[in-house]
């Protein structure tokens, strides 16, 4: 017998299915944004170094 709660659970599940795409692998994305962050840091520190040298 289906209880009210079961139904709610089911609803929740089907909703989850609808809004949650299957588990995605984003390792590469993570590595790529770290590389971007690294470029930003290196560039900034480089010019900051110039600033200190000339200041």
């Amino acid at each position: 017998m289906e209880t009210q709660i079961d139904k709610l659970e089911q609803n929740k599940k089907s909703k989850e299915k609808k809004t949650q795409p299957e588990k995605e692998e984003l390792k590469g994305t993570f590595a790529a944004v770290l590389i971007v962050g690294g470029i930003i840091l290196v560039g900034w520190l480089g010019v900051f170094g110039l600033f200190l040298e000339r200041a």
């Binding site: 692998e25 994305t29 971007v36 930003i40 600033f51």
Partner: protein, 557 residues
Amino acid sequence: MVIARKLDEAIPHTPIQRSAATLSLAYVWVAYAAFGLAALAGMLQGMVRGGIIELPSWTNYYQILTAHGVLMALIFTTFFIVGFIFSGVARTTGGSLHGAALKFGWAGWILMVTGTLMAVVTIVMNEASVLYTFYAPLKASPYFYIGSALLVVGSWLAGFGVFASYRKWKKENPGKMSPLFVFMGVTTYVMWIIATLPVAVEVLFQLIPWSLGLVPTINIMLSRTLFWFFGHPLVYFWLMPAYMAWYVCIPRIIGGHVFSDSLSRLAFICLLLFSIPVGFHHQLMEPGISAGWKMIHVVLTLIVVIPSLMTAFSMFAVFETTGRKKGGSGLFGWLKKLPWTDVRFFAPFVGMLFFIPGGAGGIINASNQINAVIHNTIWVTGHFHITVGAAVALTFFGVSFWLIPALTGRKLTKIANRMGMVQTVFWAVGMFLMSLAMHTMGLQGAPRRTDYTTYMDHPTALGWMDYQRVMAFGGGLLFVSAVLLILILLYLTFYAPKGNTEYPIAETETKQEVPRILERWPVWVGLVAFLIILAYGYPIMEQIQHQAPGSPPFRTW
């Protein structure tokens, strides 16, 4: 209008109804006409600075520099953006624009073209060599300023056209979230209209009366502040439409999906909030603004890193999920599965790569102290050539390769695609060489906006000469690329075989719930107003109350 009617006859069937397609095409072609002239000027500038050519006596470096800056940064970009957004709004709201939107669209086109002609004629007559920032106390002919005012007002009308379409869609689809493209287009115009109000005030109440001689002097500090209130958001006005192509069109082109609807909209809301109250990062060397206010603007500027990195993350995520579905594996194996020979993907992708050092350079520029290293050097010119001149421009080129045939009911042929790839490579290599040279020279102190000079053979300046020539060589490649591009686009407009070209619009893979708050405009406009008053209220009041002596006009050319 005659041209419009002619184009109209040339259009059989398109993914967008003919009336909307014609409007969009009319904007896009004005953009490319301006682009062609500007590319010629750009190449000449590089050659002059590199000591390779000398200009004939009837013109001078600062005249062509003004023409280049105005035609590229103000005319090419604005016309392309307006045309692109109109087409995408039509495409995602049922394939057409209704009467009101079309009327606004054409009225805007007429005003913008009139304004452009006034600006171009005054520049050609050597009455307006004030560079594209039109800083006082350099004084142009009043017609130059009136022309730029018409350009801005025309773009507002175009914005009203997009708002009208949006309102109509909302009425017909009660309770629904608007299509992503439309949402982004509306956000872009809301930002643009708020951002251009102060420059309209500068032009109407400061520059025009002063240029006409009605008032003897001008408040320089205030005019610069009002200019940069607009000048920074201007770069987001270029960038947001490029992001629209990245978020909405590219995923479809590579056979994938929008990564996250909410994230995309949130990024645009962040851009709306944080692109305006930040203008002092262009005025960090200005003595009339205190350090505290500069710091507030710098902090707000650095917040823009958030939506930028959100965008970077989203793009990588789209590429990775799509590439993995096609069988790519390993840490970066998915990269191999992307459609590298499709110019619709390749051109904007190369643009994205340029945006990585571009964004990094932006953070350097905005950092108060190290701005002193690069301020007014040609590093800055290098910076905006890799951001707007490469990231944005390559995205617009990539869009044009499908947009124009989609609008004219023609096919993007294999050969056009291949020529597009060649053109992209030329542009990328040219921009890489030119901007690398500009960045390097800039760090050594070479100033921007400067005619050929060796500073009486000063050894430092002589040390720049090799880079100046690299810059000139890059400019040559860029000019070749520009000519090729215009030929391809002419082919796609008038000669390519008739047929259907897709207007790529991606959707999310599964239905995604989007928080309603993202579409509550009064909330966001209220927040923008709050941030603007916070960042600009007191400094502007001070600049009006404690005016330094005003300046009479100067003509230095």
